[in-house]
């Protein structure tokens, strides 16, 4: 015959389980918050990095900055908030297509940054609009010349930021890019 447990034993056991349960819940909450924060932090870093790299990829081979260009009906201009580049076309073998140019514009709408590409026939690049990243709260271009068409360098400044459960995570990147084909 088992004698069962005394009241004190039951109380002690319950107290210990309650304590353990509270500790576990707390641990789980902490890890969950940490995980969400890290995810958000990585997300903002990815967004700002993607924008910076996309602009770098287009600006380095560009031969000039355009004050404005028409992208199949929508016109974009080079100013503090957007950038329009003209890039000599290259074909699939990496050879210049003489007299042909591709056009690339970067801009921000809401908290998303976009790249619009419009290529000429024979170019290896692809036309279309790409969303480079969300959570982009600021995208700024400054030029080394007040006349953007005379500019030889452009400084891009991008800030991606998001708030997850009251904690803000921000990624701020900037770089001065020189046009290599002027």
């Amino acid at each position: 015959m088992t004698r069962g447990m005394t009241l004190v034993e039951v109380l002690v056991a319950m107290a210990i389980s309650a304590l353990l349960l509270a500790a576990l819940t707390n641990l789980f909450g902490t890890f969950n918050a940490l995980y969400n924060y890290q995810n958000a932090s990585r997300h903002t870093a990815d967004a700002s990095g993607a924008v910076l790299h996309a602009v770098e990829e287009a600006a380095t081979p560009a031969d000039r900055i355009l004050s404005t260009h028409d992208f199949s009906g929508t016109s974009y201009g080079s100013n503090a908030g957007s950038l329009v580049l003209e890039i000599p076309s290259i074909n699939a073998s990496g050879v210049l297509v003489s007299g042909q140019y591709d056009y690339v514009a970067f801009y921000r709408a809401g908290t998303s940054a976009y790249r619009v590409t419009n290529v000429s026939i024979g170019s290896a690049r692809r036309s279309g609009t790409t969303r480079l990243g969300d959570t982009v709260v600021s995208l700024n271009f400054t030029y080394d010349n007040s006349d953007v068409t005379q500019a030889k360098a452009v400084t891009i400044d991008v800030v991606a930021s998001t708030t997850v459960r009251g904690a803000q995570t921000t990624s701020h990147l900037s770089e001065t890019l020189r046009l290599r084909n002027i």
């Binding site: 641990l27 890290q38 990624s171 770089e175 001065t176």
Partner: protein, 133 residues
Amino acid sequence: MTTMLVRSSSFRGFSFIEVLVAIGIVVAALVCAEALVHTVPLSRTTHDEDMALVIARGELESVRGGGYSSVPASGPFSSSLLASLPSGIGTLTVSDFNAGTKQVTATVSWKEPALSARSIIMSTLVTKTGGLP
């Protein structure tokens, strides 16, 4: 029934297997917790490394842009992004690679909280002929 009786009348202690299983569970939990805690400094380091690379690349880009004649002397360089690294310092080292070429090395070092100092190094050559407009 006999077992129950024996068990209740005088506690026989834990068996070896029971102890092993209990220790195993505790160790597994500790390993999980340790792994989770370690991701914090790890993701911070990755973030800082990315930042340092952007700083170094930006500096080399500006040196290249200036051309051979305006390659600065060795010394610290400034960048608005350095402030976002803990105790971030940028150093430029310039040496003659040959008669018409300079080797420029950008070093970005910073101090991870509670960790050793870290740094990244990027190097480029700037020649007398060619260069950017």
